[in-house]
């Protein structure tokens, strides 16, 4: 059974069919790419998958469970986490606290426990600190654990978003242009990190990316969107050599 199984997904804004008849099947542990020109509807697909927008039609199944139409919060609880194209960190919180917010639902104690600093509070906070630091180490962020997220350099902010998403212990990770704004060195490093995340956490990953080197380097399968519709899908090498894709994507 596929980890993510989407059928006939669609939404329109006014008259515009931003996404139309979208479908995808992603196996557990797969690294899947979603590409397409600007305004093709890629971010909108993410917003549909995470409940930010409610689809006009279609079915979204995660690990066999129908999650169509659920709220963002419920969808995260059932195992979908994401990053954002425009970075959305909790900018006044420390780097470690950003990750700890991600652990909110898996490491719980009550508000009263917090006010009275009960043993449960201490125990859970200690657990969260340890797990959080471990996670930050994966992204080479442990040295910056106690600075404000706002003060991180751009590339590290993108990494922190991924770390925060992973802290929610998802089954499926959605990355929206993780390499945007990075230089080639940082991008290469990010590719390694994404691969590591997949192997280490046995994660299923769907990512949007414009950087063809990254896409070609790490994705096993691709779907190409154009004007809200699927232009082409399949093995990465095949898709990237498809003349229709080259025309649409590069505008040649």
């Amino acid at each position: 059974m596929a980890m993510l199984d989407v059928k006939n997904l669609g939404i329109s804004f006014g008259g515009l069919h931003a996404v139309d008849d979208f479908h995808v099947e992603i196996e557990k542990g797969q690294l899947y790419g979603l590409i397409g020109p600007n305004g093709a509807g890629k971010t909108t697909v993410f917003n549909l998958l995470t409940g930010v927008y409610k689809p006009n039609e279609g079915i979204i199944k995660l690990d066999g469970n129908d999650i169509t139409g659920r709220s963002t919060i419920e969808i995260n609880k059932s195992g979908v986490a994401r990053t954002f194209q425009n970075i959305r960190l909790f900018h006044k919180l420390s780097v470690l606290d950003n990750v700890k917010v991600g652990m909110h639902n898996h490491h719980a104690y009550s508000g009263l426990s917090g006010v009275f600093r009960t043993p449960k509070f201490r125990r859970t906070e200690k657990e969260m600190n340890e797990k959080g630091m471990e996670l930050l180490k994966v992204f080479d962020l442990d040295q910056e654990a106690f600075i404000e997220a706002d003060n991180l350099p751009y590339g590290k902010q993108r990494k922190l978003e991924i770390a925060r998403a992973l802290a929610t212990e998802p089954k499926l990770l959605l990355l929206d242009e993780p390499a945007a704004g990075m230089n080639p060195n940082e991008t290469a490093e990010l590719m390694d990190t994404i691969r590591f995340v997949r192997d280490h956490f046995d994660m299923t990953i769907l990512l949007i990316e414009h950087d063809m080197k990254l896409v070609g380097g790490i994705c096993e399968k691709l779907t190409v969107l154009n004007f809200g519709q699927i232009l082409c899908e399949g093995e990465t090498a095949e898709v990237l050599s498809n003349p229709a894709v080259i025309t649409a994507y590069l505008g040649e």
């Binding site: 995470t50 930010v52 709220s71 963002t72 919060i73 995260n76 609880k77 986490a81 994401r82 954002f84 959305r88 960190l89 909790f90 900018h91 006044k92 919180l93 420390s94 470690l96 606290d97 700890k100 917010v101 991600g102 909110h104 639902n105 490491h107 719980a108 104690y109 508000g111 426990s113 917090g114 006010v115 009275f116 600093r117 509070f121 859970t124 906070e125 600190n129 654990a145 106690f146 925060r164 998403a165 802290a167 929610t168």
Partner: protein
């Protein structure tokens, strides 16, 4: 504890210590006759406004919502508790006062919940508008409310002759004239009110500081910093915004209780829009999200106009200058840089140790 938690812990302790030191110094001065009657009369109100400012900072600073009706929550806390104290005169003094505080907190919390539930769902500054309206509506409602008690029980009306009390009955709430004589009920413990006020300030600090630096507080601040991202990691934004708002309202209610029990005449006109704005000014000038700053700003800005009475004409001028100076000190980038440089100079040894 990691480095951050140690820093927060020290910071919190420092705030408690500051409040206790303030109490010890002022109490010593007062009991040795070094405080004027005027200043002595300010001590309990200072505690009232400190609790109010701290609680408003929870909403404005940590939850990132603008509330313009904080006086409304103080008002319902003040009236509900004063009503109780007047009705339940057969309950012994100390438990009665404690129950009055709990009632003030609970009633204000209920109002906070009822307002928060519909409004905090919406994105944008609707809370400011609705709390503003709430403050005005509650004031006008209480203004026409008459409550009396006699052997048949409680009577409530909206006009002065809305009910007839049986012989031996007592008018408690008299519309615009409010409730009188509440403080007289507590005469035996009246001299302890400053201490009680300080304890309430410490309890307020304890609740807010510990709440903020816990899982709940992180969720509240995450929802403030980025609502969409908070939802994307499974945070129930409405729940945490509501938590902050209700706790804040309850604590404002407690401030109201202290206020009404310290006065012989409780009038609703006190709790007007200007009071809400005044408390907001204390919050902003003390530093948004800065609890110690809230306390300092309240003490200075509340006491200042009274202390300056001798300067008659220049009073408001000096007050304005201090307001502007505090604002610059807290918010101007140059002043902030200067302060952090000074802090580093004061603690060079510590910095080195941490770097090692």
């Amino acid at each position: 504890m990691n480095k951050n938690e140690r820093k927060i812990f020290k910071n919190n302790m420092l705030t408690y210590l500051m409040v206790i030191a303030f109490f010890v110094i002022v109490q010593t001065m007062s009991s040795t006759g070094h405080l004027s009657n005027l200043l002595n009369a300010l001590l309990v109100p200072i505690c009232v406004y400190t609790v109010a400012t701290l609680s408003l900072n929870l909403v404005v600073g940590f939850s990132g919502e603008l509330s313009l009706g904080h006086a409304g929550f103080m008002c319902v806390g003040a009236y509900a508790s004063a009503l109780f104290s007047n009705i339940a005169q057969n309950v012994p003094l100390v438990p009665r006062f404690i129950i009055a505080i709990l009632i003030g907190a609970a009633v204000a919390a209920v109002f906070g919940f009822l307002i928060g539930i519909p409004v905090l769902r919406l994105r944008g500054d609707y809370l400011a508008i609705v709390t503003l309206a709430f403050g005005e509506i509650i004031k006008n409602l209480i203004n026409i409310l008459y409550v009396g008690v006699d052997e048949n029980g409680l009577h409530v009306a909206t006009t002065s002759n809305g009910y007839k009390l049986a012989a031996g009955g007592k008018q408690i709430m008299k519309g615009a004239l409010g409730i009188s004589g509440t403080s007289a009920l507590y005469k035996p413990i009246k001299s302890w009110f400053f201490l009680i006020g300080i304890i309430l300030v410490l309890i307020t600090l304890f609740i807010i500081q510990n709440l903020v630096y816990s899982r709940t507080g992180r969720a509240i601040m995450a929802a403030r910093d980025n609502r969409i991202a908070a939802e994307s990691v499974g945070i129930n934004v409405l729940k945490y915004k509501l938590t902050a708002f209700v706790v804040s309202a309850a604590l404002a209610g407690v401030a109201g209780v202290l206020y009404s029990h310290n006065l012989s005449m409780l009038k609703v006109s006190t709790f007007d829009y200007n009071l809400s704005i005044l408390i907001l000014v204390y919050v902003v000038l003390g530093g948004i999200g800065n609890l110690r700053g809230s306390i300092i700003a309240t003490v200075i800005l509340y006491a200042l106009p009274e202390l300056l009475r001798g300067f008659s004409n220049y009073r408001m001028l000096i007050y304005a200058v201090v307001l502007i100076a505090m604002m610059l000190f807290n918010w101007a980038p140059a002043a902030r840089n200067w302060r952090s440089r000074m802090l580093e100079k004061i603690r060079p040894g510590k910095e080195r140790k941490e770097a090692a």
